[in-house]
Each structure stands twice: as structure tokens, then as C-alpha cells.
Symmetry: D2
Subunit: 345 residues, 4 copies
């Protein structure tokens, strides 16, 4: 089969690769019909994630059709149309029992990281019963690809952890795909104000279209003033960090109101300053989280009900054989204005 | 009347001072019968808190007898025996309505800070109805002095924020008075293990007597190893920071288990490093809090029920006229082994 | 001044009445500019509420202008435009501290019940600082009348207590004004399905317009079957009882899914059957609540943000002098299709 | 093998029975080393539970040694010492994902109910990985038998659902084994007062020994007065119903304070009266629950830490061959003062 393989730092290849086989009785093999590319895939290609070693097929998102199942798989049968979760969960360990699937002792985010992933014709899914989801009849498969990772990430790490509430005032720092996913799913809780902060006017325009009530371009160094003006000097109840660098985490600390919550989604490569000398008496909460995808059943319900248009995130579509072009488009988002790209078999 | 006055950086005086008078209809004047000294008072004397200016009577803890009340005070009458909360609350502003009294827009921690405090024969208490508590008949007044600040601080900032749960494993970094207050009140929730970490063997011995299940002297730089050994390599569910310096906050980040909570109590004078490069995917929570004393009614109930011996925290007793000796004893805790000192009229 | 007075069972009068005066330093006198009629007012007139005795001015909703204030009122000044809460709160008692204002030991729902109410030119508001809310500039006063009682009632008793969640399936039994208020505010949490159940096709049509995703006319005795069909045989996560009779509470017990919540809003005049022989092992929750109006600040924010059109509830408008006509219209809702009526000075 | 079999209403037999075998790859066969009898077993023998049909081996509690495992069992190996949970959980269905194992779509409480149980030499445990728990080295096996059902039932259905909090006032109606289990585990949260209510003075004496702060014999019909006296006329924050008849549920409704919670544990055979005409505005919560045993890992931790002496519940011990004598002793608890009996191989 064809697959996108991480070869070495800076090098990838779209090449022939052996088809995966069932290794454990709880495995399923899925024929991938639609997949996509994540910012994390680009990080891996830069050599930022030592856990992912050369030779690995990338990708942790997609939908597909079950090809074969191990002896202990009971929830799925060959031919079933399924959503692939970016996180594999055994359903048994102490972390899985707490729905903290991200830290499953024999799972977590392993697809396209420590085992081969979904940017291939076929993929092996461990712990299939807890890591695949049946796709309801008539569902839009493209929209569902957004449920593998980006929507649960924005929702769980940003919105749930950030305790977004009806009537509250929130800011999202970073209007890339994950920030926009937080923006879409924050609206499940009807905050009164959603302030989007970014350096790119195009992304801010997109954010307004996605439901932001205000946007702040932070390029001029005056974001703090602008946010304080928008909030009568009080700051925001929730600040969602969706970039992953010290400067954006710093901004979150500046704009947070007493009693507020900073929810970090960003993948950070270095330590940040935490201004406890100012924040120790401000009654704030800071959270970090690798997505658990425990919200997937809920997100499937809400997608079905039409409360959210997940396809807003999709800007480009490619055939599977144009995988490298898809990567090029996604990697040059500043020019191509790409958010999520769909790659279909 | 006599009072302990902050004169200038490093200088205090026990001197004659005008008696306070009712300024607002919601004020009460309380004759102080017992008070104590807080670590924060020492910080003020060092000049660490710019909000507190020379000429200020210090002290934010104590019990006393209501001397007179303003026209709008309805919950108390002259002669009532009362507990003084370190936090004044108007009961009306948006923060008070959320029980976040620490950020009351016309109150908060002002006693012995921006207005004159309790280390005096008399003290003016603003917003008396929401800032004083009736002392139940037969209650131990010395024990109640521990409810002005130190017990709610340990409980709210450490235990409640730290989400201590039955069966959980917690560590408290710092076995000073506030760490010990967290230790006492953590036991309300029956954690399975309470690991106390400090540099001072005497304090660790005290901690064992107060209910710690394990103690770790971190002087040898091997605290992390020891905690991991005690927790089968998993780390702790809750780490309570009760010191307020970068090194102890760093330790909390090292020993926290995935999904755990770091609850900061310490008053920090400088920024700390936050290792988001390691913690971004560990699903942890960090909290800060200035005590709200919203738990005071509950603590009064639990004290009355005998579930906790608050007097364990009291090591020394002084007459009011020995105020300066009390300060000397408290300031030299390493030698005197002082925890809390009672100063009585 | 003119006022609507409850004279005896079945008798009311729109008559001259002495203007209220300040009795306590925390009182305010408010000139009522807009008020409305509640189903509870009709109950009082039928003699159903012994707490309300003849001679009482009815009404517990409205907006107005502060006329005068007692010496201890600090949050308002004469001339301020204010929202009147149906619940008076001292802000000091143990219930108020828990935001359970409905059970304030010197307040609660007393307006138009145990003290004179808002269906008059002027009204005395006890505990004014905690029982009035400033009206933001430019706000729609008619919409704000819906915040005195009906919206917080639907939201707190139905939606908050019912734990409505994104993606959940809820049913509201009773499409009268309070059921519709629950319907409007349930959408703050983006449930996937909202099933409205009533006997009146007109009200069900209104409900669809207000956002219900399905409607069930229960007149044919087949509501249970219909709800089960709509929920794949599982039942609903939340059932909101908005009628107040045994039959509707019975229906809630039948349609609730394992793990679900029945939130009672209805004012019940007699006991109901609770089928513990079927429900003991179904892991369900049942709640009751008199509105606390603790959500008023949040509802003001959300109204301001335009997330909800509170005026949808208003069907008729009357001048103050047409008070009796307003009552007639509201009392004959089946014919007049009245939901809420606005009575303006 | 020998087993206790339900033969027909009122008839049981201790007889030879075929040894169970692995039916599904997720099954384990466990050699039972210690088991016990539950009040529910007596209900079954009276014919009260139609789900349990004649021919069934009873029993849903115990500890044992894994004899053999199915191909998909990964958490256990033959020879492992294990705790058997009364509830079987697949770990995959929507209910299991919410930790509501009691309603597992292919499990729940099936042991000794719809499949053969633990009062036998061997038992088949479906979904073994999620339904057995490893027994830590050195643990007291007798104490652990109390973790199969009675302690999690008292804790989850009574204490957790009842929201017992530090400083709160609770009442437990019924001082039988399950009421006493609630009493033991309620102390994890340090309530200020625990009032035990029963008709039997002996059980009330036991309750005092187990930690009750007050006891009320309700035989004289004055329980309400006594509880009100004990609570200054306020009632209790939590009322735990641990009997299962209308009279005791009625008492819970009478003694509950505004804002309180009634947590039902009792297995009810008929409907009860719910006095909504009095309770609709009291802001109370009523919960029902079949135990989920989601707290088992926590209870194992807390047992290990010695915070609770589970063996207080054990009054009698029998050899496996004396099964019928054990039943006789347990069934005549009024005379024998039996709480839980241990039956060991």
C-alpha cells in the first residue's frame, strides 16, 4: 500500500509500505477513506518529537471502513464505517477508567507517533472497541474527520478545561486551526464575548465568520490595552492558549481576570515564565491537557443535531495520491490560507 | 490605646494610638481579646508589601467583643463575642456574590494592610455583618484565633483548590504554620497518603504528629526520588506549595502525577519557571488563591464537632503588653520552634 | 397611588393605596415603569397561597427608577434605572452566602406575597443593594422584565438543576411561559434534542419557533411511546417538569433515561407518586427549587450579548391603567394565546 | 463443585453443580476463597426479584484466585489473588465510559442474578479485566470482601450521591449493614454530625461504636422532633435512606433541610409518596442509584491506608460447608445480631 513516511529530520516520503496486520486480539485493521494533516505532523517532520522515529507512517486522524478485526473485538465488524480517534484507549487502566484516555498505560496518542498512522491506505487500530466510533447513517464523513483530533482538542483542552460558561467573557490566543476549533466549540456554552487574538488579519477575519464577537491583532504590542478596553478593565474569565510559545502564554497571564482560568492547548517546546509574584493572590487556574477524546460521543451527537458546522474548518481537498501536494499546501498556510485539508482515497 | 505600628522598613513600635471610630454605617468597633502574628506581618516589616504604608497598625487575626456598631449593622450587637475574619466582605459586589470575598471591590484583605489592624486594643471592622462571625457558646477562643486566617488559608488555597479526595495521595511542600494548617484540614477528606516535605527535621517531626503519613527532608536534593519511591513512580495527585519560592514550586512540578493539581498557597516575590515543555500534555491543573474565608462557617461547625484540634498550631502565649516579645519569638521560629503565638488582652 | 390589590379569594381590585415609605436603612423605593403578571398571581387570587393575605398589593416583577434610598444603601442612587428581582436577599445569612437567596432568612420571595409588590406605581424593595440590578445603558426594558422571575426560574430550576449539557437530549413537559423560558435558556448549553410536550397544539407551535427540535402532543396518552421513538428507546437525559400536577410529574418518571435528571419547576398543590420500585436502581436525580435569581448577573450579560431574544415571551402590552384588562387577557391564555403581558406606566 | 442454589420461592439448596467454564474470551474463572451473603440474596429467595430465576447459584461478593482466563484477558493471570466486584463492566459501552457500570449494556449486576454467582467453589466472571481487582500484597482478605458490594454501595449511593461534606449534618435512616457501611464511609468527608435512626437499640449502639454522633430510636414516632432538636430546627443537609420502605423515605422528606439531599440506597418494592406540595420550593435533591463500584480503586487505596476498619462489619465466620448455617444466622439478624458473615473455603 502507499503511505506517507517520516524518513529523517526534514525528510518525508510517499512510498510503498507493507500493509498492517492484526497483532493483538483487540486490534482492527481499517481501510482509510479520508484523512488529514495535523500541525503536529509538521512538528514531527522538523524533528521536534523524539518519540516518533524515522520509518514511521504519520497521521492520527481519519475515517474509514473496518477491514478485519481481532478475536476480542465485539463492537465492530468488517464493513463498518468508523471514525478513528487520535487517542487509543484500553478502557481498563486507571487512567481510562477516569476517562483520561490520553494517559492510557497501553495507548494514548500513539497513532502516527509510536506506531504507524492513518496517512496510508490501511491502518492498524489497537484497542479498537474503545478507539473507533461507529459513524451514524447519513453523517457527513468529511465533517467527521474533524472529530478525530481537532474538535475534541479545542473542546476538551480549551473549552472544558477553561470552564467556558453562559454569559462569560473569553479570549482565544491564536486563530490557527486549533484556536478556531476552540472558537467553534466554545459556542456550545454561549459565552457573552469571544475575543480572538492573532497576528494575522486573514485568520481574524475567518474567526469573525466562525463566531468571534471581537478580534484583536496583537502585532502592534497593544493587545493588553485592547482586551482591557473590551472588558471594562476587568480582563477575561477564560483565556485559551492555542499557539504554544512563551509570548502567547505571557499574554494569557496579562489578560486573565481574578478568578479566571487559563487553558493551555499549545504544544510548548520550552519553559515559560509564570508570574506568581503577580498571580499568587488572583485566584486563577491554569490547566494543561493532551486531548482525551472522551467527548467524542457527545460531539457526534451535537454534530448530528447540526449545532455546529465542522466543515467550516476544511479549506482544501486532495486525492490520496496527491498527499505530498496536500502537505505542501498545509505547510504554507500563511500563503494558501489552509486550515484543514481533506485527503481522500 | 496601645497598638503595634509599622513605622518604616525594618522598624515597628508598640505605642499609643488613637482609638478607632465608626466611619461607615456598616462598621463595627471590636475590643480585641486575643490576636496573633502572621508571616505576612513579617513581610510587611521587611518592606515587601507596598500596599501597606508606614503608620499602619498591623494584624488581621483575632477574636474580641463588639464595642459599638454602625446604624446598618444587623447581625451583631455590642457585647457579642466575635471571630474576626482576615478578609472583609461587602456581600454585594460581583466577587462577594461568588463567595470570592478576597476580591471584594470595597474589602478583601485590608485589615492590617490598607486600614488599621487587630494588633491593638480596638479595631474597626468594615462590612461587619459579613466580616465577623458569632462565637458559639463554650467555644475555645484560642482555637478560634486559628480561624481568622491560617486554617481557612490552608484549607481553601491548599485543600479545596488542590481537590484533595478520599484515597488520594498528596504532598505538602513546606511544614511551616500554613503548610501544617493545610495538613490538618486535608484530613477532612481522608487522603490515603500525606507526604510532608521540608528542610527542617523538627518541623517534619511536628508534621508526623499532625497526621502526615510520610516525611521527606529535601535538604539532600533527593526529594523527587523519595517521593517517586513512595508513590510507585507515579507522583502525587495533589501538590500543595506552602513556601513561596521558585525552588519549592519547581519541586511541585516534578512530583505531580498526570491529571494532578498543584495548589499554590505561598506568597511569591518573584516569577517562577513553568515547564510547559514537559507539562503541556500531562493534564495538570495549577491554582493560586488569596484566602476568601468563605469556608469559615463550615470550619466553625467542624471545630465545634471536635474533628480537628486547631490548638495544635499554638506554641506560645503572651500578654498584650508583651507584644514585642511575641514578635521576637515568632520571628525566630527556627530557634524558638514557634508556630502560632497567642497574644491576649 | 394606584395598585392591584388582592381583596379576598377570587376578588381583586385596582384601587388607590398609600405610597410605600422607607422602613429599614437597606430599603429603596422604586417607581415602577414596567411590570407583568405571573401565573403565581393567579394562584394567589384563587386562595392557593395562604402566605399571601387579603389587602396585599400583588406583583413581583418589573423595572423602574429608584425614587429614594435608605441610609445604608450604597449601590444605588435616586434616578438609577433598575431591574427588580422577584427574590429579596440580605446578602448576609447562611443561605445568601451559598447564593440560595430563595431561602434568605429575612427575604426570599416576599414581594407581592408577604409584603406589597410591584403592580403599583411605587414599591418598597428591602435589601435593595442585593435585590435590585443596575440596567445597562441602551438595554431593552421590556426584555429585562423577563429577568425578574421567568427567565431565571426556567434557567435555574429547569436548566441548571437539570444539568443540561452540550449534546444531551432533554424534554420539557409543559409549554406555558415557564416551560418556554426553560426552552429558551436550555439552548445556552446546546443540547442535541429538545422535545417539548404539551396538550395544546398552539403552544407546541410556539415552542418550535422558540427552538424545540421536536414536539409531542400528549393528549392521546401516547407521549411515552413517542418520546421513546425519538430517543431510540433510551429516554431523555433531562426531563423538566413545568406544569405542577401529578400527571406531568408521572410522565417525567416514565421518560427519564438511566442516569438522568428530573428538574421540577412546577408549583405543586398535592403530593405525587414516586415510583421508587422502578427507579431505585436507575441512578436518577430529582430536584426541586424556588428560583434564587443568583443567575441574574449572568443573564444580564447574555441578554446584552444578544444570545437570546427574551421578548419572544411577550405577547401583549397594556397601559398601567388597563391593569384589569391585562389580568383578564393573561388569565384567559387558552383563548388569548397570552404568554407574558407587559404593563407599563 | 458445591454451590448454594435458588430452587424456588422460599427454597434454596446447597448442592453439587457443574463447574463453570470460559464462555467468552473476556471471561475468567475464579476459585472463590471467601464470600458472603447480601440482604438481596434473601430478597431473591422470597421471590422478590423476577430477574433471578430458579436454578441460579446466588452470591455476588467475594475474593478468590484466578483459575483460568479467556484469550482476551490481559490484566490478570492464573494464580492472581482478586477481589470480585458485584457489578460486571464491559468498559466499552456508553454507560461504562461514564463510569456508570451498573447499567453496562452487557453487564451490570448480573452475578448471582442473571448468571451464576459466587456462593460456589468457582465462578465465571465476565468482562474480567474490568470486573476483578488485583489484591495488594499483605491486604486483609476478609476486609476486602466488604469491597465487593456493601462498602461501595454505602459510599456511592449514600455518601457520594448525598454530597456529604466536611462540617455538614447528615442522618442515616436504617442501621442495618448497608446503613452502617454508609456510616463508615461518610466519615471520609468529616461531617460535623451523623445522626443514626433505627428501631433497634442494639443496632443504634453498634452505630455509635462505628462513629455516629447521635442516635434516634424512631419506634415512638418522635424521630422528627428529635432530629429537629439536634439540628436547631433546621433539619439535615443529607438524609440517607437505607431501608427501602415508604415510612423511611417519608421520614427523609420530613427531616431534610432546605438545599439538602436525600440519597436513596434502599431497594423499594412499592411506590412512595413524594410531597412536592411541601418540597417544590425547598431546593432539595433526591437521588437513586444501583452501585457502580466505580469507587473500588479508591476504596482499595483507603483501606490500605487504614483510614477505615472494614472488618467492623463482620460479625460471624463460617466454613464453606456450613453455607446453610451461615444463611440461617444472617437471615435471623434480629436475634443473632449478624451484620456481615464471612464464608471461607
Amino acid at each position: 500500500m502507499k503511505a506517507l513516511v517520516y524518513k529523517s529530520v526534514g525528510e518525508k516520503s510517499f512510498e510503498e509500505h507493507a500493509k498492517p496486520v492484526i497483532l493483538d486480539p483487540t486490534d482492527a485493521i481499517v481501510r482509510v477513506t479520508k484523512t488529514t494533516i495535523c500541525g503536529t505532523d509538521l512538528h514531527i517532520l522538523k524533528g521536534d518529537l523524539p518519540s516518533c522515529t524515522p520509518g514511521r507512517i504519520l497521521g492520527h486522524e481519519g475515517v474509514g471502513v473496518v477491514e478485519s478485526i481481532g478475536a476480542a473485538v465485539t463492537a465492530f465488524e468488517p464493513g463498518d464505517l468508523v471514525l478513528i480517534s487520535c487517542v487509543s484507549a484500553c478502557g481498563k487502566c486507571l487512567y481510562c477508567r477516569r476517562q483520561m484516555y490520553s494517559h492510557c498505560t497501553s495507548g494514548g496518542w500513539i497513532l502516527g507517533n509510536t506506531i504507524d498512522g492513518t496517512q496510508a491506505e490501511f491502518v492498524r487500530i489497537p484497542h479498537a472497541d474503545n478507539s473507533l466510533y461507529p459513524i451514524p447513517k447519513g453523517a457527513d464523513e468529511e465533517a467527521l474527520v474533524m472529530l478525530s483530533d481537532i474538535l475534541p482538542t479545542g473542546f476538551e483542552c480549551g473549552v472544558l478545561n477553561g470552564k467556558v460558561q453562559p454569559g462569560s467573557v473569553i479570549a482565544i490566543v491564536g486563530a490557527g486551526p486549533v484556536g478556531l476549533a476552540a472558537l467553534l466549540t466554545a459556542q456550545f456554552y454561549s459565552p457573552a464575548e469571544i475575543i480572538m487574538i492573532d497576528l494575522d488579519d486573514n485568520r481574524l477575519t475567518v474567526a469573525k465568520r466562525f463566531g468571534a464577537t471581537a478580534s484583536v491583532n496583537s502585532a502592534d504590542g497593544k493587545a493588553l490595552d485592547k482586551v482591557m478596553k473590551l472588558t471594562d478593565g476587568r480582563g477575561v474569565d477564560t483565556a485559551i492558549e492555542a499557539v504554544g510559545i512563551p509570548a502567547t502564554f505571557e499574554m494569557c497571564q496579562q489578560i486573565i481576570a481574578p478568578g479566571g482560568t487559563i487553558a493551555n492547548i499549545g504544544v510548548h517546546g520550552k519553559k515559560v515564565d509564570l508570574h506568581l509574584e503577580k498571580l499568587w493572590d488572583r485566584n486563577i487556574t491554569i490547566t494543561t491537557r493532551l486531548v482525551d477524546t472522551m467527548s467524542t460521543p457527545m460531539l457526534l451527537n451535537i454534530l448530528k443535531s447540526g449545532k455546529i458546522d465542522a466543515k467550516l474548518l476544511i479549506t482544501h481537498r486532495f486525492k490520496f495520491d496527491d498527499m505530498l501536494k496536500a502537505y505542501e499546501t498545509f505547510a504554507n498556510a500563511a500563503d494558501t490560507k489552509a486550515l484543514k485539508v481533506i485527503i481522500e482515497a
